[in-house]
């Protein structure tokens, strides 16, 4: 975890892609160490901002050099004040960058078949991952899902990066009507996939894990927990994950994640927008305790 840099980034391009903003930021020193699945923590609102907490985004791609020095790309859905501020940036605006952060997607040592599943902007890190996997000789299928067509990201890019692409939307405005989990079993079976990579909303990651496990594949999912610092010092981003020893701990998703083996995550703890501490977690409150 020592290759992270903090640099004053400069936006060099910002363009609208469907419901999202795609930013390219000059951030020297990030690309060399970055791997697919890692993320960037951006400060928002400038040096005197009243929005103190960092906003985290998957690295969509990085390039080590070029006319401007190293760059990184992110795909942003404008929601609250921080993402709105970022979406409103113009070329040459400054943004403080901390990256690369977190653990990347593990890459199989053998050239096995893989399925990459992205929900909404969750597809952002998957094209780069697909390129890395195909360099290793892996067969790569992609599944992109979203509520509606404008919330899909990278369908054209997917056709370039993957051997096969399936699109689903909840409303049927593009591809098949339905969820990614509807089409996943057939793809895993047809390709004999050994690994299913996922990035997107927590509910989707849970169902990807269930489908993958039921079909004998390993799920590797990049989670999205609310983060305040992104660098491991605040303990806000924790979730219950079983370790190799079978014991559940509340681990920081910014440091030990964001990528976890899906079958290690205690999905049942997530309900109604809250994540409870399972009773068998290390240090869980005893009755009457904290």
């Amino acid at each position: 975890m020592s290759d992270v840099v903090q640099v004053a980034g400069e936006v060099i391009a910002i363009r609208r892609v469907g419901a999202y903003q795609h930013l390219t930021i000059v951030a020297p020193g990030v690309a060399e160490a970055a791997r697919p699945g890692q993320f960037v923590a951006l400060a928002v609102g400038g040096p005197t901002s009243a929005n103190l907490l960092r906003r985290c985004f998957s690295l969509h791609k990085v390039s080590p050099s070029g006319a401007y020095g190293g760059t990184l790309d992110v795909v942003i859905a404008a929601k609250g004040p921080g993402t709105q501020w970022l979406a409103g940036l113009r070329a040459h605006d400054k943004v403080d960058v901390v990256a690369p952060l977190g653990r990347p997607f593990p890459i199989p040592t053998e050239p096995v078949a893989c399925v990459l599943v992205g929900g909404g902007y969750g597809s952002a890190p998957l094209f780069w991952l697909a390129d890395v996997l195909r360099e290793r000789g892996c067969h790569v299928e992609m599944v992109l899902g979203a509520a509606s067509e404008d919330r899909l990201f990278g369908v054209v890019e997917a056709r370039r990066s993957a051997d096969g692409v399936t699109v689903t939307t909840d409303d049927g405005s593009a591809g098949r009507r339905g969820w990614v989990s509807d089409v996943l079993p057939e793809i895993i079976t047809r390709t004999s996939a050994a690994v299913v990579y996922g990035c997107g909303p927590m509910g989707m990651l849970r169902s990807i894990t269930e489908v993958a496990t039921a079909h004998g594949a390993v799920a590797q999912v990049a989670v999205e927990e609310s983060m305040a610092c992104g660098v491991g010092v605040c303990m806000t981003c924790v979730m219950p994950v079983r370790g190799k020893d079978g014991t559940t701990r509340m681990v920081r998703s910014c440091v030990e994640g964001p990528v976890f083996r899906g079958d290690r995550v205690r999905w049942e703890a997530f309900t109604d927008g809250v994540c409870r501490v399972p009773a068998d977690t290390v240090g869980a409150p005893r009755a009457g305790g904290h």
């Binding site: 907490l53 491991g232 924790v238 994540c275 904290h290």
Partner: protein
Amino acid sequence: MADLTTRLGTLTLPNPVMTASGCAANGRELHRFFDVSELGAFVTKTVMADPRSGRPTPRMAETPSGMLNSIGLQGPGIGAFLDKDLTWLKSVGARVLVSIAGNTAVEFAQVARDLVAHPAFDAVVGVEVNISCPNVANRGLVFACDPMSSAKVVSLVREELPRDFPMFAKLTPDVTDIVAIADAAVRAGAGGLTMINTLLGIAIDTDRMRPQLAAVTGGLSGPAVRPVAVRAIWQCTAAMRENRIDAVPIIGVGGVRSGLDALELLAAGASAVQVGTATFNDPSAPRRVLTELESALDERGFASLTDVVGLAHDRKVTL
């Protein structure tokens, strides 16, 4: 260049800037951004006797110039802390201020005893007793909200520490009279005070129309609370200057984001400052605040840090 040396009772530090407990983990993470041994001291995340999972999530909400948190003192327990974290901090040459807590006064003492007995104790320059946490034996009332409970914890911890070992009681501003709590802590043997811990708050999610934090309440921190920190430091310093309570050094904490913010707390009476929530905005913040403080003193022509401690009391206009 101003002399940044600060004296906190029996403790002398090369500069007054520290991390704040719970805002810097136990060092490794920030060491990627700056050398933690350059700080006056590194303050560790409050540790208790046993491992703790902390509370359910969401555990935080952003608020104007601040945040609410309800981490619930998640931590590995004193044993693992000593063998892994303190030992690592010692290996990089950090001066460590160890923050401890307990569910009961006796647990505080037990944690202090384990700390003193450990081979890495020689890296410890002081103990910060986080009495701003719930007392299980007193219906969960925060120790620092009651002078008797505060005094009990402080005196039990005092007994475990070597004679004159630097010990700071960390106070909450969520009390009617912080001077009364400060007085109780000092009488019980605290060699100094750290103030302030977070203020209790609630944020409501207006889409779901329910509390944003799973635990409902959380601690408010960040620049939003800085005037409260300055006020608490001011009131205790004034009481010491007027001999209403015994004079002990104060470590100021609350909303420090820049060198000038730090200078504000010093001028109110603090002899050292901690940088907390600002670290989430800028992982280099503690080190940057040190650099900025040094320039701020130079620009104002102060030769020594000690010249500014409590200076605002002398310069207050009398009406």
